[in-house]
């Protein structure tokens, strides 16, 4: 069973690179949805291994909220406000982003080795993947100029945290997981709402044009 979980964790990490190089917002949303499916699969596998019911509930809610609902909301937003075929701009170009992204992934694995881990369901390699995904998510949020791209970056970081939660805190009560899901969902909707407003008042969702407030 170890092999399955490593492969799935690898897929989660690869999906992050998909988002890292995506030029169009629609591609980034697809990458996020794909990553969330992989994450739901990880939850499912750990449920089959351990037989803890709350992991099955997590798998189902991850699939429903993160793989279907949030991407659907984002796709609608993209259709209505941002031209979905438009290429977005970067602060960091694709080649350097790939290079830095690889560096950040390595950093994730190095940090994971430093943490004393009591193995519950998932082992150290998955811990490395989850820290790498959190770091890459923050990097995407920083490296992109487009507000919708920054939102997908934060969502990716949050997926990394969910995986990290499975490694470090699988024993946490389910209510906590639900509270987190609620935060993510409402947060994504509020940020989507702000992006729509941005398109309305500023005429674009490029945050490098938001420079009125200084000092």
């Amino acid at each position: 069973m170890d092999l399955t979980e490593y492969v799935l964790a690898g897929v989660v990490l690869l999906a992050t690179f998909w988002l890292l190089i995506a030029r169009r917002i629609r591609a980034a949303v697809n990458g996020y949805s794909f990553q969330s499916w992989a994450l739901a699969a990880v939850c499912l596998v750990t449920f089959l291994q351990s037989g803890r019911w709350h992991l099955l509930v997590m798998a189902l809610s991850t699939a429903a909220i993160k793989a279907l609902l949030i991407p659907a909301v984002l796709r609608r937003l993209v259709r209505e406000t941002v031209y979905d075929r438009r290429e977005t701009r970067y602060y960091v170009g694709v080649p350097s982003a790939l290079l830095l992204g690889t560096g950040l992934s390595v950093a994730g694995f190095v940090v994971a080795r430093q943490l004393p881990l009591v193995r519950d369901l998932l082992g150290e390699p998955v811990l490395g993947v989850s820290i790498a995904v959190v770091l890459l998510g923050f990097f995407i949020a920083l490296a992109r100029r487009d507000a919708a791209m920054q939102l997908t970056g934060l969502l990716v970081a949050e997926n990394g945290l969910l995986l990290l939660g499975l490694v470090l805190g699988a024993g946490l009560p389910m209510l906590v997981d639900f509270a987190l899901f609620l935060d993510v969902l409402v947060g994504a909707v509020v940020m989507g709402f702000l992006i729509a407003r941005m398109h309305e008042t500023v005429g674009s969702t490029d945050t490098s044009e938001l420079t009125r407030l200084r000092g």
């Binding site: 934060l154 970081a157 945290l161 470090l168 024993g171 935060d183 947060g187 702000l194 407030l213």
Partner: protein, 490 residues
């Protein structure tokens, strides 16, 4: 009785939000808002009296708990929440009659305000660290649409920066709490109740390295939300662009909720990681925040941004107080949180009245207030002296306790730097407001509309508290503050 009081307390703002969402006439929105916040205040004071009397009210097992540290924050949320709600009524009614906002926006405002207060009450009452994180992260999500309330370009920019940076910060803090959970696994086994009471019982036996990592992650993450430099860059924007009553809540209350997240982590990790190391980190962030804030205070031309930078300075001072570690400084830091909440909300109410009348935030465009708006001018002058920490006001007492506490702890360098920064900050804060109040009135005095008296009432209530606390700290409040200080500096 407390078993039911805590859930009722949390249900009141949610019920108020639901009624607000369904109601149409502004008068109903105002009545519901005022009634809800009076109820919250009364329930909170009942609960706090119990805490001071030695009880530890709890509900739903250990999910909701009220202890001394949470009690300090609950006191701030309930009191400043009440004054801000009353001020909101006057402020938004003025905006409504001026046609600056519509009826639909008014409804949205009050519904969000109540949910915002709910998330802050939950932060104070959460007994489980997962719930605490959710509540604190939730405060941002609910208040970002309030920052964007006026909907033009600048508020939108402020709201976007606010939600992106503080959400990223909250995620780092969650990383810290997960590492803390894992540290607990080493002692308690893979599945345990992630609440303070369970963890604090085994706190000295947690693995030291993991505990220290957990605290640093929470400090950096929620430090971003509490406005500690260098993660503060969103704060002056968000706290100046929001409507004034929201600014009072953001600056006076919400920052304390994020600080509570840091202090809870500190209390749980210090026994294992070594309090000295963790305090050093708090001192470093605190002094840096004060330094950055004072530099920007001196060069500020916008009076709401001036108050926002002052919040960074004051939260930095709270971090310094806890970082100094001796009981004198730590209880000073607790008093500082309360004092700052009242005096900063007072200043946002007073400057809100200026905004309603003059429609400008530029310090240079306002003059001769003592002739033009005497009631507001008194608020501004007394308020700014209190906020800057002039004796006999209560902020002088808490600032003095923190600085002398740092000196007692032989933290000479922080004590001297902080004292110098407070002196410069004092002048940078008092001078602009002094000019706005006393300089010769502009030729075109008397322009703009008069402001209704409801906006003066909560401001004068805060003023009475700010002046009163300088002369006399009631003994239950003193017990609450020193009880909270004991959990941070045993």
């Amino acid at each position: 009785m407390s078993q039911t009081l805590i859930p009722v307390l949390l249900a009141v703002p949610l019920a108020a939000a639901a009624v607000t969402w369904l109601a149409r006439p502004p008068a109903v929105l105002y009545a519901v808002g005022a009634a809800a916040h009076v109820t919250i205040l009364a329930l909170a004071i009942t609960l706090l009296t119990g805490v001071v009397g030695g009880a530890e009210p709890h509900a739903f097992g250990r999910w909701l708990v009220l202890d001394h540290l949470g009690g300090v924050v609950l006191l701030i949320v309930a009191t400043v929440g009440f004054t801000s709600a009353v001020y909101s009524i006057g402020y938004l009614h003025h905006e409504l009659t001026e046609r600056a906002v519509g009826r639909g926006e008014l409804r949205r405002y009050f519904a969000l305000l109540h949910v915002f207060v709910f998330t802050m009450l939950l932060s104070a009452l959460a007994g489980n660290l997962g719930l605490l994180w959710t509540a604190i992260a939730g405060t941002t999500i609910v208040s970002a649409p309030l920052v964007d309330f006026y909907g033009s370009r600048e508020p939108l920019e402020a709201a976007w920066k606010y939600i992106v940076l503080t959400t990223a910060g909250s995620m780092v803090a969650l990383l810290g709490y997960l590492v803390l959970y894992q540290a607990g696994v080493h002692v308690l086994g893979v599945s345990y109740d992630f609440s303070f009471s369970v963890l604090s019982a085994v706190a000295p036996r947690l693995p030291a390295a993991a505990a220290a990592t957990a605290f640093l992650l929470v400090l950096v993450g929620f430090g971003a939300k509490a406005g500690l430099a260098p993660m503060h860059t969103w704060l002056p924007d968000a706290h100046s662009q929001a409507p004034s009553p929201v600014c009072a809540l953001l600056s006076g209350v919400e920052l304390n909720c994020a600080m509570l997240g840091i202090l809870r982590a500190f209390a749980l990790t210090a026994p294992a990681a070594g309090a000295g190391r963790l305090r050093l980190a708090l001192l470093a962030f605190g002094v840096l925040s004060m330094l950055v804030a004072v530099v920007f205070l001196v060069s500020q031309r916008d009076f709401k941004r001036l108050l926002a930078y002052s919040s960074i300075e004051q939260m930095g001072l709270v971090a310094v107080g806890v970082g100094a570690g001796v009981p004198l400084a730590v209880s000073g830091a607790m008093l500082q949180m309360v004092n700052h909440a009242f005096s900063k909300s007072l200043m946002f109410f007073a400057t809100g009245n200026l905004l309603l009348r003059f429609r400008t935030r530029a310090i240079g465009s306002v003059a001769g207030l003592v002739h033009d708006m005497p009631a507001t001018a008194i608020l501004l002058i007394v308020g700014v002296l209190a906020l800057a920490g002039a004796p006999p006001f209560s902020l002088f007492v808490s600032e003095f306790s923190i600085v002398s506490g740092a000196a007692v702890a032989h933290q000479w360098a922080p004590a001297l730097i902080v004292a110098a920064l407070l002196a410069v900050g004092f002048l940078a804060l008092v001078w602009p407001f002094n000019r706005m109040a006393f300089s010769a009135p502009p030729g075109s005095a008397g322009q703009g509309t008069t402001v209704n008296p409801i906006v003066l009432l909560p401001a004068y209530l805060s003023l009475v508290v700010v002046v009163g606390l300088g002369f006399w700290v009631p003994s239950p409040l003193h017990a609450l503050l020193s009880g909270a200080a004991r959990t941070l500096a045993p």
